[in-house]
């Protein structure tokens, strides 16, 4: 058994986890004053810079807010769509609809981000904007709203798939029983379906939240002057100040580990 496990384990442990560990350790390195390169002299200044400065704390809060908003938006759209497809659509259209909604996952992250840029670009009195601005004369422009919308658009299939799979697995008998006991649809949904769907929703939200939290490319494409955690990490890395960048990466690591733990309790890992 160890034979089967050792090769992938070696890869994951040494290359990946080892790199993460090295990264965490490097957050405590300082930059040499003269050469500007990281030394092995330990310091807590990077940690204190990343964790005590008000501007960065507000940045982290903002990032969590944007990631949460994108996740919620995904859920708000995926839930009704998945419900319709799984329980109301005819057998024939069911597969077609699922496939149709999942396919964009394959068209590529950048293609979609730039497509949204083409939709949301603001116009001005000096020039034309994108599709929305050209069509209705207004667009939210580039900023946190555009980032949230784009992130929700990008990760929507990741939320839809698990919820749909969860709905498919839901035994009809439970729903019938609930109706027999006199519960209306909303009540059945709230008290029977949602709790059973929780693991699927949790699983879907992991991808959506994590992908949104660390994103920096979408921010650059549709965010205007907006900045999220990923952007600060990139900035620090390009300064170049690798130890400081490492210190900043502790934020998404801590947030995600916490999130994974919470979602794990909600049963997310059973259905990953």
């Amino acid at each position: 058994m160890w034979g089967l496990l050792s090769a992938p384990l070696a890869w994951l442990l040494v290359v990946y986890v080892g790199s993460l560990a090295l990264l965490v350790v490097s957050a405590f390195f300082s930059l040499d004053d003269f050469t500007g390169k990281p030394t092995t002299e330990l310091t807590t200044s990077n940690i204190s810079e990343a964790f005590t400065q008000g501007e960065y704390l507000s940045l982290v809060v903002r990032s969590v807010a944007v990631a949460s908003a994108a996740t919620l938006l995904c859920f708000a759209l995926a839930m009704p769509a998945a419900f319709y497809i799984a329980r109301l659509a005819s057998q024939r259209t069911r597969r077609a609809l699922v496939v149709a909604l999942i396919l964009p996952l394959w068209t590529g992250y950048l293609v979609k981000a730039f497509a949204l840029r083409a939709v949301l670009a603001p116009g001005s009195e000096y020039g034309n904007g994108g599709f929305m601005s050209g069509l209705i004369g207004w667009s939210p422009g580039f900023g946190y709203v555009a980032v949230t919308l784009t992130l929700a658009y990008l990760w929507f299939p990741y939320m839809l798939l698990p919820i749909y799979a969860g709905l498919e697995r839901l035994p009809d008998s439970l729903l019938d029983a609930s109706a027999d006991l006199g519960a209306g649809s909303m009540r059945t949904f709230r008290s029977v379906m949602l709790p059973l769907l929780l693991p699927s929703i949790a699983a879907g939200s992991i991808f959506t939240f994590s992908l949104s939290l660390g994103d920096y490319i979408t921010v650059k494409i549709v965010g205007g002057t907006a900045q999220l955690i990923g952007n600060i990490i990139e900035r620090a890395l390009l300064a170049p100040n690798q130890p400081l960048a490492a210190a900043f990466t502790l934020w998404p690591m801590l947030i995600m580990v916490t999130y994974l733990a919470v979602m794990g309790r909600a049963g997310a890992f059973k259905n990953l």
């Binding site: 442990l13 290359v15 009704p80 083409a118 660390g214 990466t249």
Partner: protein
Amino acid sequence: MQLSALARLVLRLVTYAVLAVVYLPLALIFVLSFNSAKSIAWPPVGFSTRWWEGFLEVESARDALLSSARLAFVAMLIAIVLGSMLAFALQRYEFYGKNFISFLAVLPIALPGIVTGVALRNTFVRFGWDLGFLSVVAGHATFCIVVAHNNVIARLRRIAPTLREASADLGATPFQTFRLVTWPLIRSAVLAGGILAFALSFDEVVVTTFTAGAGVQTLPQWILNNFSRPNVLPYVTVMATLVMLVSLPIAWLAQRLGDSNPG
């Protein structure tokens, strides 16, 4: 569950509205690839096919496409082998630390790409390893393993363990059992996992940016670097449309393979 006609209608509308919203931006890119002007401003200025005619001559685009294909292929192979091994180990055996390993396997996908990218780059640079094709492969394979693993383990769970036992009872060696019983049952899942891994690698840009050296430029990197360059922008929209058109049938195929029942 009984729902009112109104509720059914609303749900149906929402679903189709979502469908429309999902495809609108993609359709826009398709339309813009025929724009005679080199911009994404709306409305498009005129109709022209010259970008479609000329884009194969853009050397950097061709090279980027090949680069991505090579990279994704290698990453897929590694992912299939290692991911399947991991799936077998996790599905067949109970051992202390199993949950930890499962958690570990999810980490590359659960942690934001920038964390993975920065971590790997740091490791490569510190140990003086050359940043180039192999370093990118290493990065991609790491998260592709998870994807392949997920597909295979899901299929393994649906296969009755009694089949293997029966095969052994009939005198087959473990290898024969694998070749004649297990493999036919899992191969479509392995393939689906491989296709998914290929797509993931083909599309990936964050980890790539941090682990690629001077000589590597994948297609996503090419798109990122050139979308803002007005003279190359039209070719980017053409390339984007192509990627869409090619990936759709492949996606459909992967969907069919993943869903197909064992045996």
